[in-house]
């Protein structure tokens, strides 16, 4: 699948990740630096979320309703991003909403990756009926627009956080499974895997210690492709009023609420929407950069 020539290069970069990362920093384009900075900020919000909010995000103040955000006429420094129809502080809601969206997306991405990578290994290793069954499941998953399945399932199962998490975890696993299976099948035939096998290593040892690190690059790229679509999955469902619902909040839920006030208070929709956009944008820029660095063969 890949040319023989770039295999040693890839295993070298993976075996010394820190040296590789540092050598990358010097030549990093400005957009990539900005993306990493923004994603770091989002991670800080995800970890510390509720400690950072200036007000409790659900605190109602009917005397300060629909205040505009900072540069607009009539704003106050007590609410730098303004307030919504119930006088709740938009900055606090944004922080908590971003925390919810990010935490769910990270969890969903990781669960999807684990399921997909495991099944990909199983399909490649067991072959025959296992392979057929797993690939049939992959076809099935790819045949159903998962967003629509989620819509139906959530409607009939009701507002359950566990169901929502399961749906997010199952979103996108087939991509990892397909890539892992292909990569494992081709990696198995390469010198290093055959050599370790000849030394008497068990399949599990070969896969975990030798094959997985060698195919980590393409899987990492798949992660950066999957992450933006997972956050869009969460925000779209919450936007439609499924997924995260009041009294909880997420970026999509805020945008859905703000949509009703486009004429009188456009910022209620535009502020959370911008945060979603910047998150997916940063992840895509970072992903493109990683892909170009990890797999030079893609570029020419």
């Amino acid at each position: 699948m890949t040319a023989e020539a770039n295999i040693p290069a890839r295993s070298r970069t993976i075996s010394r990740p820190f040296v590789w990362m540092l050598s990358g920093l010097r030549r990093m384009p400005l957009l990539v630096t900005l993306s990493i900075a923004f994603l770091t900020l989002m991670l800080v919000v995800t970890v510390f979320g509720r400690f950072l909010q200036p007000y409790a995000f659900e605190q109602i103040d009917l005397l300060a309703r629909m205040k505009p955000p900072a540069p607009l006429e009539g704003f106050t420094w007590t609410h730098p991003l303004g307030t919504d129809k119930l006088g709740r502080d938009l900055l606090s809601r944004l922080i908590v909403g971003a925390q919810t969206s990010m935490a769910l997306t990270l969890l969903g991405t990781v669960v999807g990756a684990i399921i997909g990578i495991t099944l990909g290994f199983v399909a490649a290793h067991k072959g025959r009926w296992w392979d057929e069954a797993i690939m049939a499941a992959v076809d099935f998953q790819a045949a159903m627009p998962w967003f629509i399945v989620a819509l139906a399932v959530l409607a009939f199962m009701g507002n359950s956080m566990i169901v929502f998490l399961m749906l997010m975890g199952l979103y996108g696993w087939e991509g990892y499974a397909r890539i892992t299976r292909g990569l494992v099948l081709s990696a198995r035939e390469q010198g290093y895997a055959l050599a370790v096998h000849g030394l008497g290593a068990t399949p599990r040892w070969i896969y975990l210690r030798h094959v997985l690190p060698n195919i980590a690059g393409p899987l990492l790229v798949q992660l950066t492709i999957n992450f933006p679509s997972t956050i869009l999955f969460e925000t779209s469902l919450s936007f439609l009023g499924l997924g995260i619902r009041p009294p909880m909040t997420s970026l999509g839920q805020m945008l859905g609420e703000g949509r009703d006030y486009l004429i009188s208070a456009w910022w209620l929709a535009v502020v959370p929407g911008t945060v979603i956009f910047l998150t997916t944008l940063s992840m895509s820029i970072l992903g493109d950069w990683l892909r170009a660095r990890l797999d030079p063969s893609l570029e020419n």
């Binding site: 499941a137 076809d139 819509l151 779209s236 439609l240 945008l255 004429i263 929407g273 997916t280």
Partner: protein, 310 residues
Amino acid sequence: MTWLPVRLARAALTMWLVVTFVFVVLRLTGDPAAILLPDDIDAQTLAFYREKWGLADPLWQQYLKYWAGLLHGDFGISFRNDMDAFALVWERVPKTALLGGTALGIALFIGIPAGILAAIWKDSWIDRTIMTSAVFGFSMPNFFLGILLILAFSLRLRWLPSSGSGTWAHLVLPAITLGTGFAAQIARYSRSSMIEVLSRAYMRTASSKGTGPVRRVALHAIPNAAVPVVTVLGIQVGQLLGWAVVTETVFAWPGIGRLLTHSVALRDLAVVQCIMILLALTMVTSNMIVDILYGWLDPRVRVGAGTAQK
């Protein structure tokens, strides 16, 4: 020539899985009659409706009946307004087809030339501009793009309507919203596919034969670069339908997507089920067509896949 039967068997298996999945998920989530009818209803009425909707039988009988119904084109009765579920869905199909088709047209019309230009002038400012716009384009959530377009063109400039579907003007904003992300994705795929093809030996052969650059690109590169792009398109059709749900909701476009969100809110089982099965059928068919096109564009696939599948 085992290629086509194998492909058909796979499509049939996928369809069976989808139909069964829909049945299992929608039936195992509780008693639909109890969910649909008011809480204070008496047991006799409940039993009447359970009987009427065929919910009183054992599950395996329901499953067989459900299949028998589907094969006769009977998708059940909408619980809410007693209309044939299929008829309800079918009358929305033209609207979604119009929106989806226009969006796909926009995506192809912008995406393919953009990708080709970027590949030809790789690493130039043209390439960088196109690819940077593409990253912005597919990172933009379409519900947010829709809202921004409404703010700009409906509320501020007052050029275009923000909701409904009466005239051609109503189609503009939703089609742009739905098409932008796809244009960006198609541009990326066309670019990488073109770059690969342009570096092949037969392109050098063509050039040394004295074939001019326009002819080289149009007759040698584009047909070869089209193969992977077509495959990707087939996969994207499902995504397009998924995002159409959101776009239709934002613009109050009366298509399948809005019917789905509406039916989901009302828990109208038969309609949701019908939409899901029709969507899966659309997806499986479009993937089949893509595979056949693929075999037609690239004869190696026909032969290769036939031998690979033992």
